[in-house]
Structure formats: C-alpha cells, structure tokens
C-alpha cells in the first residue's frame, strides 16, 4: 500500500463516518544530530519515524487522530476515530467553521539540495565538530560545544477536496559555542548564532559556515567577556546585529501576526496578540523603514516549502508595509473566521501532530544602509548581537532580550566590549524607533519554535539585517 493510498483510505473512512471535510498526511522523517564537547563526540543520534495523521471536520467540530501504521485497516480506523473525536467536539460547540477555497493541487515539490546531508560520511561530520571544539579549548574556552542537525522529511498529503501533493524537504545546519566560566558567572560566544544557522538546504550550508575558522575568535571573546565592563543601565541608541534582530522579528512580529493567536485560539497557552483585526490595513506597527514579508518561497530559508500542510501553495505576502500592518499568518479555517481570503501558513511537526498556524519565513526587507554606516552615524549607543535569552509577554508586547556580547559605540566608532547586555521595550514603540536599517540581509533559521498543545516544534526563517533603534532601555539586571 502506497503512502498516498493510506492517506486516501483515511480520508475516505472519515467521510464515511460523517465528516464533511477530511485530510490526511503521511510523513516519513529521518533525523540525525551529532554534538561534540571539548574535542570529543558527545552524542550521535539517528531517528526514523513514519506515520499518518488524519483530520476530520464534522459539522463545525474538528477531530484528529494519528497512528504509526500505514496498513489499510489502520488508516481506515484512524479516519473513523478522527471523525468520532470531531463528533465529540460538538459537545462544546462554537461558531460555524468554513474553509477558504484552496485549489485542489496535484503536485510534487522538493527543496534545493546540492549535497545530501545524510550522505556525508559521519566521520567527516564528526571531524568538523571535533576540530572546531578542540580549537576553542586550545584558545581558552572552559566548555567548547558543537552541534549539527539534519531533518529529511517526505510528506504525502490528500484531502477530500482533491489535493494530492508530495514534498521532500531537506533541512540542516549547525554551529559552535564557547563558554568561559568565572567567579559566579558564565560567558558564552557562539558562531554563527547560539544554536547555529539552519536552512532548507543541503550540507553545503554547513560547509559554507566554515565553523573551524571562527573557533579561536569566539573562544577568546568568551574569556574576554569575563572581565569586560557591564553593559551600562539606562536609555540609549541600540544597534542590533542581524542574528538578534531575526529573533526580535520572530518574537515581536511573527508570533503577533499569527491569526490563531489574534482570534484567541491560543489564549490559554501561547497567548493572544496585541493586534486587533479591525485595524488590519491601518495600524502603525513601526517606522517607515519596516517592511516585513511572509515568504515561504525563499530558496534555502528554513521556513520554505512548496505547499503548506493543508495544501495551500507557498505565496509571498506583505505583513507590514512601510510600517503599516497589512497581513497575517493564516490557515484556511482561521482565515474564514476572520473574513480573509488566504491561508497558506499551516504546518504540523510530524505525522502525529495537528496542523496549525505557524510562521514560514517572516523577515525584514533590506534597508538602505550598512552596519558600518549605522555605527558611524551613532554618537552614543550600544551594539548588541547573538541572542542569549528571550522573553515576551502573552500579547507579544513587553519583551526583554539578552545578548551574548555588546560593544560601546561612541562618536561613530565601535569601542570596548560589554558583558551581559540586555534590552527591553514594548513592541510597537520599539519598531517605531527604528531609524536605520542595513542592506546586509541574512535569512536566519530558527529550528526551535515552540507552540501548541501537545507541543510542536516549528522551523522558521527570518531574513534580517543590522538596524538602529532610538532611546531603548538597556542594562536590566536582577
């Protein structure tokens, strides 16, 4: 029985059990990760998982059931159980549910991949991490760590409306970090970011990072941070590096424009959003430099795909245009509730999880400046980069971020290194203060976006470049 056959059987069984709509995803995922510490391989893990998840809509109640068995009997049973669960949902009914139209695509799609990451010999991959972590130790790191991760996912999607789509998405990435331990505190420097850089791409991404070439520098910087002066406390001009700005976008824009949050569907856990649909198209989100797109079509970015997990094709849309809020991340049912005409941002973390609204690639379009120009134009400020901690409230307004490293900026020059840099603010106030934005854009990948109950881990992309923000509170401490 083929994967499409199993999905088709599950959908048909759900319809036979009373569903007015059903879809099913078979997913096969191979995962590999390797971590190294202080010049030795610490852990090598390989996982392979395959199964089927079926979603049924009975009346206006949803049900979902997942099984690790692709036999005809198991698939049909899963479809029936999904319909039975949907029927139970009607005991606590809500408003009528509709789905915005989605053309019944019959298609195949695959991400670009020059070098199959699972095909690279383990010994080569291990040597890379061993060499980089050994170098960090030689250059003073108390704790030298390296990590790569690979996901190879094939999906087969069938819906009762006629969708029949298969996709093969390969994702990988990696990074290194050096930690130095002093009296009562630790300092860490990472390259290219805390957990590394990731994309829907082959091993060529990891090769291009040239981890070993940066090992000595970050080890030395982690030691230097132990004796660096504390980031001063107060209000100042803040320059963020691109990696940190990517997380700022993720937390204070990406999650805020998720339509399920705006509608209250995540109220008890992930939270809601400060955004009010009545102001879509008119709300001033940020300065006129702020142009944010939702674009799952970017080649190689971590949030890219051909079709989302309810069969909608990847389409680029505006989320914020010249500072004005104009778009959301939506699914077919949430869009119908909101009176919008597009979905396209629904994904599931594996076969056993319900598809839900997730970020794709949510990022800033390039600005007109360079980082050097931004620094040169700043009389008194702090430059921060590489995220160390992140926290934001349940409406996605009040945030506080910590970075690994800061630098004093005085009279247009980057000065001494600062330790424990933090900054805090309120989302729209912060974004309205952005007055310089670089053109040096990188599509940063975030492989650890948590959402949903049961929990799901999403992979998202965030094009971002260095930018300057005026009058930001920095240096918050216990």
């Amino acid at each position: 029985m083929s994967e499409f056959d199993a999905a088709t059987a599950a959908v048909q069984a759900a319809l036979d059990a009373g569903a007015r709509y059903a879809d099913a995803r078979v997913m096969h995922r191979r995962y590999e990760s390797m971590s190294a510490r202080n010049g030795d391989i610490e852990e090598l893990s390989q996982d392979e998982s395959i199964g089927l998840g079926v979603r049924a809509l009975v009346g206006s109640g949803w049900g979902f059931h997942a099984v690790p068995d692709l036999s005809d009997a198991a698939a049909r049973d899963a479809g029936r159980r999904a319909a039975a669960i949907a029927t139970a949902s009607a005991r606590v009914p809500g408003p009528p549910i509709d789905l915005v139209p989605s053309e019944a695509a019959v298609a195949s799609w695959a991400s670009e991949c020059a070098v199959d990451p699972l095909g690279v010999p383990l010994s080569d991959k291990g040597d890379l991490l061993v060499r980089a972590t050994a170098t960090m130790r030689e250059h003073g790191a108390d704790l030298a760590e390296g990590l790569y991760q690979i996901w190879d996912t094939t999906k087969w999607f069938v819906s009762s409306e006629g969708h029949r789509i298969d996709q093969h998405i390969r994702e990988c990435g990696g990074g290194i970090s050096a930690t130095s331990i002093g009296d009562g505190e630790t300092q860490r420097r990472s390259y290219p970011s805390y957990r590394g850089q990731y994309g829907t791409t082959g091993w060529e991404l990891v090769t291009s990072l040239d981890l070993a070439a940066h090992a000595a520098r970050i080890a030395e910087e982690s030691r230097e941070l132990l004796t660096a002066p504390l980031c001063p406390a107060g209000e100042t001009d803040l320059i963020l590096g691109g990696e940190q700005l990517a997380l700022q976008i993720h937390e204070s824009v990406g999650h805020a424009i998720e339509l399920d949050r705006i509608l209250g569907w995540e109220a008890a856990f992930a939270g809601t959003s400060w955004l009010d649909l009545a102001r879509l198209g008119s709300l001033r989100y940020g300065s006129e430099l702020m142009n944010v797109t939702i674009d799952p079509t970017i080649p190689g970015a971590l949030g890219s795909f051909g079709y989302d997990d309810e069969g909608s094709p990847a389409v680029a849309r505006d989320a914020v245009r010249e500072g004005r809020w104009v778009g959301v991340l939506a699914g077919r049912d949430s869009a119908a509730v909101a009176g919008l005409d597009y979905g396209g941002s629904v994904r599931a973390d594996g076969w056993a999880r319900l598809p839900m609204v997730r970020m794709t690639n949510v990022g800033l379009e390039p600005g007109p400046h360079t980082l050097d120009e931004i620094i040169a134009a700043t009389d008194d400020g702090v430059l921060m980069d590489i995220n160390r901690s992140w926290s934001i409230d349940d409406k996605r307004l009040n945030f506080q971020f910590g970075c690994e490293v800061g630098w004093e900026v005085k009279n247009g020059r980057r000065g001494r290194m600062l330790r424990n840099p933090t900054y805090t603010g309120i989302g729209p106030v912060f974004w309205r203060s952005m007055d310089m934005l670089s053109s040096e854009t990188v599509a940063w990948g975030t492989p650890n976006c948590g959402k949903g109950q049961p929990g799901q881990v999403g992979h998202t992309g965030h094009p971002a470049a260095p930018a300057r923000f005026r009058g930001v509170r920095v240096g918050v401490r216990a």
Partner: protein, 469 residues
C-alpha cells in the same frame, strides 16, 4: 511478557546475533496513547489523539557508541534500526568513558496506571470541558483536558529487564473577563479526579477579581506565589541547577552540602509519587532523590555517564538528550516544613472575605496573604528565560492575575509585571516567610513531568518593569 518487553528483548537478541556477543545493547520500547481536548473562546477547537510506539537503542561495540531510534516494530523495521545504529557505531569515535550497562536490578512497580484514564474517550474529556465552560458563567474559557498512557519495557544485553506503565490526566484552563484572566491547573493520576466545574469556578473567580488592574512601579516587593508560579521556580531550578551535567561543567549554582536555601525549603524529585514509568532510559530504577533538605543542597541528578564521571551512581535520570542537555529532574515536590516555617503562615484560614473578592480562593493561600503587610499576590509566571545560568538569574512576566496586598487583604488588581530575579537568591536563607500546607500538582508541558508545591511567601521579588515598559 508484555508486547513491549518482547520487542525490547528481540532487539537485544538481534544485536547479539549480528554484532557479536561482545556488543553491549540497551533497548527501551514505549507505547503511548495520548489525547488532548483543547478549547478556546468557550468551544472545543482542537481535539486530538495519538497512538505511538518508539524503540530506542543504544549500542556500544568495539569501544564505540551510537544511539538510534525509530517507530517501525515489524521485523524489517527493527532490523533496519539495528543495522543503521551498528553502522553509526562503526564510524563513531572511540568512547573511553562508556559507563557500561545497568546490571540486573530489581525495579519497583510504581503506582498502578488507572485504566479508565489510560483509555478515556473523547466524550469523557469533552464532559469536563463542558463543565469548565459552564462554570465560568458567561466569561470566555480556554484551556485543555488531556489524558496520557505509557507502557514501557527495557532490556539490555547484561540481562537486565524492566517493565511498567503509567497514566496521567491534567486540566489547565483560564477564564477571561474583559482582558483579565484567571487560571486553574491540576494534574492527577485519574481523570475521575479532575472536576471541570470546580476548576472553572476557581478560574472565573480569579478572573473577575483581576478586572480593572492598576499599574504599580517596578521595585522589590514581598510576594505570595501561588502553586502555578512556584512550579516555574522548581522547573528552572531543575533544568539549570540540579542537572548533574551542568553541575560538572560548573554552570550550576548547586553546592551540595551547603545551606543555599531557606531552612523552610525541602525539595525532592519523586517520580514514583505519580504518573511516570518506574525506570529510566538506561533501565535504572527511579527513586526519590532529595535535592534540598531543610535548606541544604543535597544532590544533583545523574544518568550513568555523568555519574561515572562524577564517581557516583546514576540517580535514574537517563533520558533522550541527557548526554547533551544533561539529566533533569521532572517530578519535583516542594515539601512544607511546619517545624521551620512561620507558624502563622501554616495555620489554615478561611477564604479572605475582605478586599477583592475571589483574589484568594483557598485557605492555604489566604493564610499566607493574611500575614503580609504590603506585597503582591502572584498567580502564575510566563515565558521565563535564564539570563545567567550560574546564578540562575531569570527574567519573565506575571500572568493570570496579580494583586496588591495591604495589611493582609488584597486591595487592588495589578497589571502584569516583568521581573528579573535570581531564583536561588529569592529562596535563600531568611527569604522564605511561609509555606502553605496544601500542595497542588501542576502539569508539565509534556505528560510525565509535573511539579507539586504549595503557595509560598517570599520576602522579596525584583520586578524590573511594568506592563507599559
């Protein structure tokens, strides 16, 4: 022999036949039935269930180690798992620190899994949601009701086997009153012990009491933390402090044998208290581990590898990823110590009748609030993240209700705060002014993890920002 144990033993035998008698293998097979009924805007909007199985194999052969896992349990699937794990081990670097396998050891049976919970129907979960929604009486309701069942079996090539099962139910919901939320959260061994109506009524009373909040200036405040907020303290202490790997790396605040906490603080990781399998990923029996006894740090958690490096034994905390992230206690209880805690604080009192009605919903919290001259009552914490692991400085926000308490009475609802605080320091000697007597088990984000604590009164908590910045 359970089906899971049959699979585990079969994989060990397959390794022996294909990799030779000297190969060391350990196998954990887990079958899961998980279901979660989720509601928002007072209706069920997501309703899911999953049947799953996983086979986790760790193989040490010719001095090299690799780990593999999968969910195919037919003969071809298991053979493929063994083969790819063998291939990975051949290419892995030498592993001179291999700690060896768990020797044959008696494993406790653990609490009996409640069959009615294990295989509860979607209708039974929906009934509790119905009761919660009805009880909020016109407010908006959101949350979940979940049931979980795990049946697991372990076998290794040293001849050790173990088997067990566990069930758990949890309900977590909020009521929403014009932008103010109140929460009720409970984890139990049996679905029958979850009363949706009682939880809904509690959440609704808190939500109504949280209406019309005022903004207070940041600063240091005395606080009473309700059990949901205390659970966050326990979780962060576990991840970053009582984690044997972080301790070995000198990234933990923990100093065993040192009085780092107030004498009122006794923490024990107690997995057999409820809802978990009685052995870990490496087959080590789980048991209660005293982490802090009357304020003195007692122990940190280890898996076999970390324990060998530290020259001690595993504490039964082997888990997927523990080699990288460290072994983490997931079942922590904060025990009241009436002999040490402030006597007034441990006297049960009735619900507070003065001040904001509904802010204090139980006698336990009422007793702590009654002793506070000026401070804040905090229901819950949200999005807590570590700024510095060594001192465990954490930033986060309050959520689901904060009230100003004056002369023992909650007088005003307060807007949410951001805080930046060192958790060990906040619980340090002289800082704990009272512990409640009625612990409440709070569900973790994944089934099998929970944190049980009473309300807690602390002398100071550093709020570093208000809702408006």
């Amino acid at each position: 022999m359970s089906a899971e144990l049959g699979i585990a033993a079969g994989v060990v035998d397959l390794v022996r036949r294909t990799a030779g008698a000297d190969a060391e293998a350990e196998v954990l097979v887990t079958r899961t039935d998980l279901a979660l009924t989720r509601f928002a805007n007072s209706f069920i909007h997501q309703n899911v269930s999953e049947t799953g199985v996983s086979v986790h194999l760790r193989l040490h052969v010719d001095g090299r180690t690799a780990t593999g896992s999968g969910n195919r349990v037919d003969a071809d699937g298991l053979a493929a798992l063994v083969e790819r794990t063998r291939a990975a081990a051949r290419l892995a670097p030498p592993d001179p620190a291999w700690p060896g396998l768990t020797a044959p050891t008696p494993v406790p049976s653990g609490p009996a899994a409640d069959e009615a919970t294990a295989f509860a129907s979607p209708g039974e979960r929906a009934e509790r949601v119905r009761a919660f929604v009805d009880a909020v009486d016109g407010l908006e309701a959101a949350g979940y009701c979940r049931t979980a069942y795990r049946s697991g079996a372990f076998a290794n090539s040293a001849g050790h086997t173990a088997a067990g099962s566990a069930a758990e139910a949890a309900m977590d919901g909020i009521a929403r009153a014009g932008g103010a939320d109140g929460v009720a959260r409970l984890c139990a061994d049996r679905l029958a012990d979850l009363d949706g109506a009682a939880l809904g009524a509690h959440a609704a009373a808190k939500a109504r009491a949280a209406a019309d909040p005022v903004e207070l200036p940041p600063g240091h405040y005395e606080v009473v933390l309700e059990p949901a907020a205390v659970a966050d303290l326990l979780q962060n202490l576990a991840w970053f402090g009582f984690n044997g790997k972080r301790y070995a790396e000198r990234q933990s605040f923990a100093e065993p044998g040192t009085a780092q906490f107030d004498p009122a603080v006794t923490l024990v990781d107690d997995p057999l208290h409820a809802g978990t399998l009685p052995f870990d990923l490496e087959g080590t029996p789980r048991r209660a581990l005293p982490l802090v006894e009357s304020g003195t740090t007692g122990a940190v958690a280890y898996d076999r590898r970390g324990a060998a490096e530290a020259g001690t034994g595993s504490t039964g905390h082997g888990m997927p990823g523990s080699a990288t992230f460290g072994p983490i206690p997931h079942n922590i209880r904060l025990l009241a110590d009436p002999g040490v805690a402030d006597a007034d604080a441990t006297v049960a009192a009735g619900p507070v009748s003065a001040g904001v009605t509904g802010a204090v919903g139980d006698p336990d919290t009422a007793a702590l609030v009654a002793g506070m001259r000026r401070g804040l009552l905090v229901s819950d914490f949200w999005y807590t993240r570590v700024l510095d692991p060594k001192q465990l400085v954490v930033t986060g926000l309050t959520r689901n209700g904060v009230w100003l308490v004056e002369d023992g009475v909650p007088t005003r609802a307060v807007r949410d705060f951001r805080f930046t605080e060192s958790y060990p320091r906040a619980l340090g000697p002289g800082r704990v002014l009272g512990l409640g007597r009625a612990p409440v088990r709070q569900p973790g984000r994944v089934d099998g993890s929970w944190y049980e604590a009473p309300a807690l009164r602390l002398s100071s908590w550093h709020f570093t920002g208000g809702a408006s910045g």
